[in-house]
Amino acid sequence: MFKKRDWLAILGVVVFFVMVLTGCGSEDSTGNADAGSDNDGSTEEPVELVFWDENAGPDRTPIWEKLIDEFQKEHTNIKVEYVGLSKDEAKSKLDASIAANDTPDVASLQSSWLPEFSIRGALLPLDDYFENSPLIDTINEGAIQFNKDIVQDGQLYGVPYTQNLDILWIRKDLFDKENMTAPETWDAFFDSVDKMTKNDIYGYTIRGGAGGSLQLQRLMYAYSGITEYIDENGKATVNDPKHAEFLNKYFDLYQKNTPKSDITNDYKEMVAGFDTGKVAILHHNIGSFGEHSKSLEADQFEAAPLPKSINGNYVAEGGNTIGISIFKNTEHPEEAFKLVEFLNNAASQSHWNQIVGQIPTNSEVLEEEWINEAQHIKVAFEVYDNPDTMLYQPPFYLPDYRSILDNKIDPAIQSVMSGEKTVEVFLDEWAEALEASNAKYKEAMQ
């Protein structure tokens, strides 16, 4: 049988493979770079930070790479590794990294994710850093307060660098041909869609595929004027009769005024339809400005606010911002916050938002010329600065809020569009899913 020497050999082989499988021990997070000096001239230990971008792609990745490059020039002892995540995969990748306790140091995160990530103890509170930073005087106070309000402990977990707003994109050239202007009421919206549908052109395009439910709820609340998503008794308002009234009209547009393929339409297909002149009106946000401006001349398209609600005021979804957060696991919180500060300074925010076409949160940027010249930004300010504008707040705190929308409501939209389900049943199922999730959450938190 086996002798002692054989057992040692077996043990050696096992240890070798275990080491291979586990990656041969821990990684030195400080990297091997030579010690550098900061821009203040002091020599500091070299530090390596990992930064995750939640919406990487050919348009946005180069912006981040440029900003990171400039940051590294300014802070020669800090090396930043950029990791781009695709929009559709980002949330699940972040979830997995938190579960595995293997998070990045810094990340760009949608504000709606902050409640969930903070409850899971993944994020570093930034209150102390922020209060001692010059950012406190420049970053939009409302956006900062909103990020504090949506999390359970009222702390700051993300510094927003950009703000978005859902609008209507209008093919101005097609509207001009028909002597029409952008609709200002919901009746005018349905009327315009109908009038613009002729020959090979569709008046509108519906997002029936991934992400459709998010856009749909923004339209529903903009129409109804309701500002409470789930009331104090845990009753959801998505199945309010006003929403059913709106959706019945809205889904009647399908195939009559929209392409048949809208039932599986994703962002790319929607934008392609608009940019190629097949579609006259597109509902998206100001962030698709960059896409349209690549394909169209400036005078061919324009932004218009979503019409005012039946109560007569603008109603938009709150928390439509993206910010920079630091994960609790970071070994270099000071350096990580330097990156947060850099990415939120006026120059960085200006660069990022001008290319992408969204609203900066840094007040110094708001004075810049491009802001005053950008028609779509003016439209966004017209809505946000209107004293009657109300923001509703979806239940971002529910851990399965996005999962319900993505995996239950998105396919259900297709059931409505294909005639398999009525609008009323669809909205009731939506409300039931949210109410059940809310009740489970409240019980767990008690």
């Binding site: 054989d6 997995a96 393929s261 599986t264 999962s403 297709q414 294909s418 767990a444």
Partner: protein, 304 residues
């Protein structure tokens, strides 16, 4: 007595424990245990847990809750399973049929046979994502080649959105996957066809067999082992296939192309519910194991 002793000693010598093979097998054993058995056991473990990585405060022991929910409440369990069976049956049977036809053709001598063989096998070498892009463009409502052709020959009056109808989407994706899967059968069957002795066909011809009877009584029995193995492998692969469906329809419209494997991926990966996703996976594992066992028994694979 002396002879017996010699025999006994010889027998003992033959069964002497040899260590070297075990030592050489050990790395493979460690790798398989770590990379295959350990994750499998974890899936069985998680299937009895409430384990949602986006909501750790809900996590606890679930007992058989996940399985009860699947069989009693889950509105997608049966439809996705039915879609998977439809998908696997249509893919395996059609791929085998067309793959056999192509293999028989390529087994004949003709000019440019080498080039034709190379061209036929190209779809197998193309990645799933690229295949999805090619087919989504061809099916496109506004600029797709299918709509253009069908309108030119007068079969349709207006463009069709092939991937956007609950009735046509499944068939459209089946055709796309068929294009990619046929070469697999063609390659493996062609390799087996080339190993069939010409003498068998000569003997069959002398017994009065025509082409059809030669195919039935010579070719098919000789290919039986390959056919059983490839169809079994393909059944498992197609059951677990996600890429083309995910990229072309994402399970839609209205879950009409949602197969069981895709439902698992959406529940566990996108929904972060690894407990429930693991329970679905355990059921898939049991179903596939039963299918494989029955298939090998019925086809008498061991005797082939």
């Amino acid at each position: 007595m002396e002879i017996r002793l010699t025999l006994g000693q010889s027998k003992k010598k033959k069964h002497k424990f040899v260590k070297a093979p075990y030592l050489l097998l050990l790395p493979s054993f460690v790798m398989i245990t770590a990379l295959l058995f350990f994750p499998m056991l974890r899936i069985f473990y998680y299937s009895f847990q409430h384990y949602d990585i986006s909501a750790p405060f809900y996590d606890d022991f679930a007992g058989i809750d996940n399985f009860v929910k699947i069989f009693t409440e889950d509105p997608l369990f049966i439809p996705s399973l039915v879609n998977s069976f439809k998908w696997v049956l249509s893919q395996v049977l059609l791929q085998l049929f067309f793959g056999m036809g192509i293999a028989l053709l390529l087994n004949k001598d003709f000019k440019f046979r080498g080039l034709t063989r190379g061209l036929v096998f190209i779809p197998w070498a193309i990645s799933g994502v690229l295949t999805s892009v090619i087919w989504s463009l061809m099916y496109n409502e506004h600029m797709g080649v299918f709509n253009d052709l069908l309108m030119k020959i007068g079969l349709i009056n207006e463009p069709k959105a092939f991937l956007s109808s609950t009735t046509s989407a499944f068939v459209a994706v089946v055709i796309a996957e068929l294009w990619r899967g046929i070469p697999f059968f063609a390659i493996t069957l062609l390799a087996s066809l080339q190993n069939i002795s010409a003498e068998l066909y000569e003997a069959a011809a002398m017994d009065g067999a025509n082409r059809l009877t030669s195919f039935i009584y010579v070719t098919l029995p000789q290919l039986k082992r390959t056919i059983v193995l490839t169809t079994l492998l393909r059944t498992v692969w197609e059951f677990n296939n996600v890429d083309l469906l995910y990229n072309l329809t994402n399970g839609g419209p209205a879950n009409s192309t949602m197969t069981y494997a895709m439902y698992i991926a959406k529940t566990a990966v996108h929904g972060s519910d690894f407990g429930y996703g693991s329970a679905l996976t355990v059921i898939a594992f049991i179903i596939l194991s039963i299918i494989a066992f029955l298939y090998l028994k019925i086809s008498k694979f061991e005797e082939a």
